[in-house]
């Protein structure tokens, strides 16, 4: 769209242009999920790797385009900003229900344990993690990162670039530290995803949470690069806001995981 057309559109809404990325990311998604099936059933990884490569390339280029539209073309007016806010709120709501299903499965299995697992929780033979060791440290790390992202956001609103950079970097380091500890914890586990309903629900819930932490960390890293490159102003920084909401969401999910899965089932 050239400048004349832009100026003739006398409305604040963003009429998006043609883009190949919805098509390529849809293809990437179907190839990736089919690849998961091939991986899990036949232990062939190639199709999954192809799918995730297409997904990474598509999402990188799609969000690069969105960045150009907002920062360099100024297409994100107040109305567009508000609509993206609602988009993120609805997305996080859908994520809440995604995790709710795993908690449902967990409570269904644990509140009235079947005879097959010894009528007890954790099931007979399962040695759970001690919640006062690494999981407690992970809780402290994530709550601290929630505080540091808020520090970064307030610095950004107060036009304090340096403090915003420092605290956002701190948040990212805490996120990476969490992922490293989670990997260490998984390596040391006494049970696998194939060990009873405990292993299934535990790894399903904490595994998906771990994926969300990784994605949230990448989202924050993109914000750090954009902050450094002067993409944000004190009242227009939607990418940052969305990333921090997402991070808080991941933080809150961890608190529920810690309380109900790690702490409550540990005797």
């Amino acid at each position: 769209m050239n400048f004349m057309q832009m100026s003739m559109n006398n409305h604040p809404f963003h009429m998006v242009e043609k883009s190949p990325w919805p098509l390529t990311s849809s293809l990437g998604m179907i190839i990736m999920t089919s690849g998961f099936i091939k991986w899990f059933h036949y232990k062939i990884l190639l199709m999954f790797l192809l799918g995730i490569l297409i997904m990474i390339l598509s999402s990188y280029q799609w969000w690069r385009d969105v960045t150009r539209e907002s920062t360099f073309q100024g297409l994100h007016s107040k109305e567009v900003y508000m609509n993206m806010n609602w988009g993120m709120i609805l997305f996080i709501t859908s994520e809440v229900f995604f995790f709710l299903s795993f908690f449902w499965a967990y409570f269904h299995a644990s509140l009235s344990p079947n005879i097959e697992i010894g009528s007890m929780w954790p099931p007979i033979g399962i040695i759970p993690f001690n919640p006062y060791h690494i999981p407690l440290l992970n809780t402290i790390i994530l709550i601290s990162s929630g505080a540091s992202i808020t520090w970064s956001h307030h610095s950004l609103i107060n036009k304090n670039f340096k403090q915003s950079m420092i605290s956002l970097t701190t948040t990212i380091i805490l996120g990476i530290y969490f992922s490293i500890l989670q990997k260490y914890e998984y390596n040391d586990a006494y049970f696998t995803i194939a060990d009873s309903i405990y292993g299934s629900t535990f790894y399903m819930a904490t595994g998906f949470h771990g994926m969300h932490v990784l994605i949230g960390t990448m989202f924050l890293m993109v914000c750090l690069i954009r902050l450094k490159n002067n993409h944000f102003s004190k009242n227009h920084h939607f990418g940052f806001e969305a990333a921090s909401w997402y991070w808080h969401f991941v933080d809150i999910v961890w608190l529920f995981l810690y309380i109900s899965i790690y702490w409550w089932s540990f005797n």
């Binding site: 832009m6 100026s7 003739m8 559109n9 006398n10 409305h11 604040p12 280029q61 690069r64 360099f72 073309q73 100024g74 297409l75 994100h76 007016s77 107040k78 950004l156 036009k159 304090n160 670039f161 340096k162 450094k228 490159n229 002067n230 944000f232 102003s233 004190k234 009242n235 227009h236």
Partner: protein, 120 residues
């Protein structure tokens, strides 16, 4: 084909890596209006000038709405869709096209007229 694809990928990757970026030495964040561009900036400037509805998308109160004194509807185009809430207690909106030129009457009796307003 392979070399063509390779070149396309190479060019695309170069394009995204090399772009202008600037930051002043004092590490100050930019002023929001200075930082903005395009329609976003024009909207901010209009609001700074005291116009809180630069695109005329907020509802307008009807005047007498007679044939001689119709309610004026601003538009940058030849026609615009108008929604008339015919009575105070009405539970629905009556929509109609309004064209440049003579005023037009809603079925409830209120008159409207399109007036040209330059785009923002």
């Amino acid at each position: 084909m392979v070399s063509l694809c390779g070149r396309a990928v190479l060019q695309a990757s170069r394009r995204s890596l090399i772009y202008a970026q600037a930051r002043c030495k004092s590490y100050e964040m930019p002023d929001p209006i200075d930082h903005a561009t395009g329609i976003e900036k024009r909207q901010l400037l209009a609001e700074a000038a005291g116009n809180d509805d630069p695109f005329n998308i907020k509802p307008i109160k009807r005047g007498p709405s007679t044939k001689d004194c119709p309610t004026l509807v601003p538009s940058a185009f030849d026609s615009r869709i108008v929604g008339c809430v015919c009575e105070d207690e009405a539970t629905h909106v009556n929509w109609m096209w309004l064209h440049q030129g003579s005023p037009r009457r809603c079925e409830c009796g209120h008159w409207f007229k399109l007036v040209y307003k330059a785009p923002l």
